[in-house]
């Protein structure tokens, strides 16, 4: 008989070595696996965001809710009604309304309609704007109770959408 044969024991009709049996009894393989798991248990590896309580900090270049910028000095719109954003939009969801001011002989913005429900936030309108009037902001919470609420007019675009309490 060799030394190896001595270590072998018979258990439920199978012969196993002592080492293997001890590994099984003390669940060595389980703990080897759990070691990998517990390496990731450090709280600094938590990636889950507790969303409504904890809002993510989106990137600086994030393309979210559109905004029509106003000149902070005189409160007038920066938009020159050139219609380039409407031309650039792949979904043609921007409609710019303008009229000619007879005194200054300039085109002035009257209405601006932006349908966020069909918008894919590609940023082409923002890129097309020559005066940085139209901008996609970091605001990403665009849910509304109705489809119509997704269609923004000039006032909504300038002031940002105002939350309305839900009425049944």
């Amino acid at each position: 008989m060799t030394g190896e044969r001595l270590e072998e024991i018979h258990l439920f009709g199978k012969s196993v070595t002592m080492g293997k049996l001890l590994r099984k009894i003390f669940l060595v393989d389980l703990f080897t696996g759990l070691k990998v798991t517990f390496r990731s248990q450090n709280p600094k590896y938590i990636y889950t965001e507790q969303y409504p309580a904890e809002r993510p900090k989106v990137g600086e270049r994030y393309r979210g809710a559109p905004r029509l910028n106003i000149n902070p000095d005189n409160g007038e719109t920066l938009c020159i009604a050139c219609n380039l954003c409407a031309l650039a939009c792949p979904e043609s969801l921007i409609v710019v309304g303008s009229e000619r001011n007879e005194q200054t002989k300039r085109k002035e913005l009257t209405t601006f309609t932006y349908d966020t429900s069909r918008c894919m936030f590609c940023g082409l309108c923002e890129d097309a704007c020559p005066v940085d009037a139209l901008e996609l902001t970091q605001d990403f919470e665009l849910a509304t109770y109705t489809r119509e609420g997704q269609i923004w007019d000039r006032q909504t675009l300038e002031e940002g959408p105002k939350p309305t309490p839900y009425k049944c």
Binding site: V36, V58, A88, Q155
Partner: protein, 346 residues
Amino acid sequence: MPESTFLDSTELVLNMGPQHPSTHGVLRVILKLDGEKVLGTDCVIGYLHRGVEKIAENRTWAQFNPYTDRMDYVAAISNGLGYCLAVEKLLNVEIPARAQAVRVVLTELNRLASHLLWLGTHALDIGAITPVFYCLREREEALKIFENYCGARLTTHAFRIGGLQYETYDGFEREVRAFCKMFLPKLDEYEDLLTNNRIWIGRLQNVGVLSADECKEYGVTGPMLRAAGVKWDLRKAQPYSGYEKYDFEIPTRQNGDTYDRYIVRMQEMRQATRIIEQAVESLPEGPIIRGIGLLRGERRRPAALPGPGAPALFRELAGIGPHGERRADSGRGGGDRNTGYCARRG
């Protein structure tokens, strides 16, 4: 198919999809089963037809670019690159060196992000739950780079015809290097978990074998072709975007089964990391876009007004008639709105 019910026979015909949770409504597979053993399959395709070609017919070249992101939403950057390269080839323009290098970095990062989603969900479908958490954790880091670079995580619209729209942000190179450094040990960790795992091998080896000839017959390319032993990679065969400058290998395997495809993709991730490291080390300075202007034959035309399909309120606010014509009383001004009850922060 034999006519039998599962009560008196061991053969069972089962529909998997198009609503099966793991096929996302993209494919219907009619399975012929004997217990757990699949005896035969019949695939019904066409559930993901979205008519992008038709959309493209009605858009300008630049306008169609964001739609390419939506063809494969985990590989938006790669799709965008393909489209931009095609248009640039048509125009016969060479884009600036810096734009090319940044494109390579982002595309390879996208390859990693896409492969990580594949690896995680693949292991999840096999029954190993751990890898998906680890893979998505690393994927998050890549997506953060995308978000900081171009403002979106999935449908990025990162490239434009002629180069790039966005210059890299401060710390781009540092973050990409940190990602590569972090990522290689993680890859070893995935391989520790899976590569020599008996269940993993048992469920992947000799499954779904596609030989090199079959691949060529069906026009299958990419990792599937390479797993069947064909050393074919477009980045080596017909280099684009400056891939000829980078030193990397084409991983291949012989058997063409699922296990070999797994190994090839894992090797590909290592090669992609190598490419990113090389590209980010030597980011050239210079312009990022080459102005192209209006394309030949493409005229500036008035913006299409929304037709009858547009929502009624949109037409009303925009002052557009039911057939898309502009009405004289051009829309309602600001003020009277608030039609939708807005749920925002309320």
